[in-house]
């Protein structure tokens, strides 16, 4: 694999993805750019319908065939644009170089196939003939903390947390260089979530995988991510290192998001929700997509695309009133 020193491992540029639904166009992803290096973790945070999952599916090119389309942009993986590759090339990359973990472990496994065989199948598809797939599958089970004897059991014999471990084993069986994890612990209980999240991070550090973690849980982001991208209505409204985002959030949406979480250390009578609702993705407001809910919004926010402002240390914020807001805050 050619190693390019100055190029980030994964670089998504101006990605635009649309769906068609009942004759209307759903603007799911609107010009998203992000970068991610090997061994790093990028958290993609946002609310339901913000386009997080669509970004991951666009990178993997597993959008449903009917009605959805990547309209523009590039997905550069090690310098190669995945969006230009023919489907048969892409098939070699999926599950091998890039893997994805889905949210719901209950439906991600085939209920009538033994769990071990489901891992072995992926190995078989992506390795040289003659590889002992069963052996590799058993190794992977051990890696995710399941005894290899359970190779022959069926998914219904596993609990939710165990199933998600199997899903992780499948995703990591071919040592992917890029792992897309879509809310991998949302369906799990908090004590199990902690186990599974630790497992993902351990394995990621061990194999130097680039991890794109999609979540709505700020706590999970704070615990495991290096960088954070905040998505709102298909736009990245703020991007920066974990420290930048958590210590100095600048976009009104990010600030609002933190404000809405009940504080674990302080007592407050009332929470501070963001008023209003996320916009309808078939009918996005002009200008900044957040302006109808933003208390700092002026006329300037209602027109034209908002240019991203990036500081010297790489903290990007897409807000035209950035300076005024930070002055007000101080």
């Amino acid at each position: 694999m050619p190693e390019n020193q100055n190029m980030p491992f994964l670089s998504v540029k101006d990605l635009v993805t649309e769906y068609k639904s009942d004759g209307k166009i759903v603007h799911a992803v609107n010009g998203v750019s992000l970068t991610l290096d090997r061994g790093r973790t990028l958290g993609l945070v946002g609310e339901t319908g913000a386009g997080k999952t669509t970004i991951a599916k666009s990178i993997m090119r597993i959008l449903p065939d009917v009605g959805s389309k990547i309209v523009g942009g590039q997905v550069l993986l090690d310098g190669r644009n995945l969006l230009d590759l023919p489907e048969h090339e892409m098939r070699k990359i999926r599950g091998n170089t890039i893997s994805m973990i889905f949210q719901d472990p209950m439906t991600a496994l085939n209920p009538v196939q033994r769990v071990g065989e489901q891992i072995a199948e992926v190995v078989k598809l992506h390795s040289d003939p003659g590889t002992d797939c069963e052996q590799r599958a058993k190794e992977m089970l051990e890696v995710v903390g399941i005894p290899a004897e359970r190779y022959y059991e069926y998914p219904h014999q596993f609990s939710g947390g165990m199933k998600q471990r199997v899903v992780i084993a499948i995703a990591l069986a071919c040592n992917p260089l890029l792992l897309l994890a879509d809310e991998p612990t949302t369906a799990l209980d908090v004590t199990i979530q902690a186990q599974v999240m630790d497992l993902i991070v351990d394995l990621q550090k061990k194999f130097q995988t680039a991890l794109l973690l999609i979540t709505h849980d700020m706590g999970v982001v704070a615990t495991v991510c290096d960088d954070v991208a905040v998505i709102y209505a298909g736009h990245i409204v703020e991007f920066g290192s974990k420290e930048q985002i958590f210590d100095h959030p600048t976009h009104p949406y990010t600030i609002g998001l933190f404000g809405a979480i009940p504080d674990m250390n302080e007592d407050e009578m009332w929470l501070h929700p963001i008023e209003g609702l996320p916009p309808d993705p078939t009918d996005l407001p002009e200008g900044c997509p957040f302006h109808p809910r933003c208390k700092h919004a002026t006329d300037a926010c209602k027109h034209g695309p908002i240019a991203p402002v990036t500081t010297a240390d790489g903290h990007m914020c897409r807000c035209c009133r950035l300076d005024e807001i930070s002055k007000e805050a101080n």
Binding site: D189, T191, Q193, W270, L271, P273
Partner: protein, 316 residues
């Protein structure tokens, strides 16, 4: 001392399954004072939702007693059950399945009033409007169907339905866990405001520790059908005593990046609530388990108002 709105004594709810008796709720006792909120936390399958449903008699209790305003309502039927239910309502977790998808918002909110057969048509109209204003649903949405609304609005409809008959006690069964953070805060504020305005008493069932800390006065921690710890909310977070509570609190990913939680990762997973052995049900995962934990456990008041069910509590 005023009579508590809800008093539960040794409540049990077992379900028979092909593999044996499922102990969903096993000997739970507590009281909730008027206008207060009892938070019930625990992981999936710990019986917290069943507990709420058993108290308001959506399930018949297997054993034990439930008192509403000091009256024993365990196993009441007919008209008594009707009257009891009017005072106890429930708000559900899933705003999708908890509303009838073929009924308009208005007819869902009207229904309890209509079924109660106490009000004239004009009164029902008036009350319906008042309820929708109370929970903040715009009037022009009256004729909408649930699928045309977002999760937060649907949850407001569920709240309006629960409040239609002026209940005293409301079981909130994970009312915000299906909602996004920004919407969740809107709904939590609404619930709190309603409680203050109407003097409601809540039992708030959730798995989200930050939500439960915000909304509750007291908190019960449940594990496999049993209460392992019960105390005032702030105290639980300041000084958790039961090993399970400690593990639960430490597993929450903190949003404070400079002071991450000291993680105490539990081994293993929740065991099956079917035919559990006597003794501490958490013992299999507990880092401090000893021989003594195999014996039946008793609840103990460690400090005023702070109850713990753990035989090794003093050593720890």
């Amino acid at each position: 001392m005023p009579v508590p709105v809800i008093e539960v004594k040794h409540l049990k709810k077992y379900f028979s399954t092909p593999r044996g008796m499922l102990h969903a709720v096993d000997d739970v006792s507590f009281t909730i004072e008027r206008g207060k909120t009892l938070g019930v936390v625990g992981e999936s399958g710990c019986g917290k939702s069943t507990l709420g449903r058993t108290i308001i008699h959506l399930h018949e209790p297997s054993a034990g007693q439930v008192f509403l305003d000091g009256n024993d309502i365990t196993g009441v039927r007919g008209g008594d059950l009707k009257r009891a239910r009017e005072k106890m309502q429930i708000i559900f977790q899933d705003p999708y399945s908890s509303l009838d998808s073929r009924k308009t918002i208005e007819s869902t909110v009207r229904e309890p009033l209509k079924v109660a057969k106490k009000y004239s048509k004009a009164e029902i109209d008036e009350k319906t409007i008042a309820l929708m204003n109370l929970v903040g649903i715009d009037e022009r949405l009256r004729q909408s169907y649930p699928h045309e609304l977002d999760g937060g609005r649907r949850q407001r409809v569920g709240i309006a339905r629960a409040l239609a008959l002026d209940p005293e006690f409301v079981v909130c069964d994970e009312p915000v866990s299906a909602l996004d953070v920004s919407i969740q805060a809107q709904v939590l504020n609404l619930l709190k405001k309603l409680q203050m305005d109407k003097g409601l008493t809540y039992m708030f069932v959730t798995h989200d520790m930050s939500v439960v800390r915000h909304i509750s006065d007291d908190i019960c921690v449940m594990y496999l059908g049993q209460v392992v710890e019960k105390c005032p909310a702030k105290e639980l977070f300041r000084m958790p005593l039961h090993p399970y509570t400690k593990a639960l609190l430490s597993a929450i990913p903190s949003v404070d990046i400079h002071h991450p939680n000291k993680r105490e990762i539990l081994k293993g997973e929740i065991t099956s609530p079917i035919n559990p052995k006597p003794g501490c049900r958490f013992a299999a995962r507990c880092p401090h388990a000893t021989e003594a934990c195999q014996q039946a456990q008793v609840q103990e008041e460690v400090s005023p108002g702070h109850f713990v069910t753990c035989c090794r509590i003093h050593e720890l």
